[in-house]
């Protein structure tokens, strides 16, 4: 599973805004392919946003989050140049991550 992620962290007035776009099919397990066979569920279950290795947001997702999920969160205490990371894990055990520095 390709785990390329677009991620941006930007300092606003008194918080840091993180936006991330993950690549993932987010299959619900309820769809069928052309032959009528069920497409197995494959979706991100767990997402963490880390600021200098401290978890600032812990998210749990179901299959109802759209394909190629978008995440936007805000945390306090960030400074320019700090490392922000987004890490995900799906129901099959695949994982992906993206990293950036605060602008």
């Amino acid at each position: 599973m390709a785990s390329r992620m677009r991620i941006r962290a930007q300092l606003k007035e008194d918080y840091c805004e993180v936006k991330a776009l993950m690549r993932h099919p987010m299959e619900t397990g309820m769809r069928k392919d052309q032959s009528g066979a069920a497409i197995p569920a494959n979706f991100i279950e767990d997402v963490q946003v880390l600021h200098n290795d401290a978890v600032v947001v812990q998210a749990y997702w179901g299959a109802a989050v759209s394909a190629n999920p978008f995440l936007g969160v805000r945390f306090k205490g960030g400074a320019q140049g700090d490392v922000v990371k987004v890490v995900w894990r799906d129901n099959r055990g695949d994982s992906g991550s993206g990293e950036t520095t605060i602008r």
Binding site: K19, D46, V57, Y60, G62, S66, F70, G72, F75
Partner: protein
């Protein structure tokens, strides 16, 4: 002569479920980061069951600012945003996005420690026209806001 319980639950089974719920509720709140994915809530299939699994129907609060489109042309990608007005609703530690008419109403949970703003933006699938709920948890109490989104193209095909 058989089990006449209309819900098909034996007393023993019910007690077991209740016991598990109590054990989960008794977990210390401090270990929020290590807490587990709320699997049972994700598996509920009706709005009532989802609220019940969360701990009851939340009270309506205007401290939650919930932005969703009035009309979604594509139910597969419906942007949602939850913001909290801390002067009305302080100490929010969790946000839930719930889509009433989906096969599993709970779509996403966001847990935040005190130094993170209770704020979340994402995109969800909405199966058909119905209500979307933003639920916030603060000091163990649940609050909500509901908004209707009309869907012109269902979310389950895409």
């Amino acid at each position: 002569m058989g089990n006449l319980d209309p819900l098909g639950l034996t007393r023993r089974g019910f007690m077991r479920v209740g016991g598990t719920l109590l054990a989960v509720a008794a977990l210390p709140q401090k270990i929020w980061a290590a807490a587990l994915r709320p699997e049972t809530v994700f598996q509920t299939t009706t709005l009532e069951a989802t609220f019940e699994a969360l701990g009851g129907v939340p009270q309506v609060s205007d401290g939650i600012i919930f932005s969703t489109p009035d009309i979604a042309e594509n139910g597969a990608v419906v942007p949602v945003r939850i913001e909290i007005d801390p002067s009305v609703l302080p100490d929010v530690s969790k946000l839930y996005v719930i889509v009433e008419k989906n096969p599993n109403p709970l779509a996403a949970v966001f847990q935040v420690p005190p130094n993170t703003q209770p704020y979340a933006e994402t995109r969800v699938k909405v199966a058909q026209t119905g209500n979307l709920y933003a639920v916030a948890e603060a000091n163990g109490e649940l609050y909500m806001v509901q908004r209707e989104t009309k869907v012109t193209l269902g979310g389950c095909g895409g």
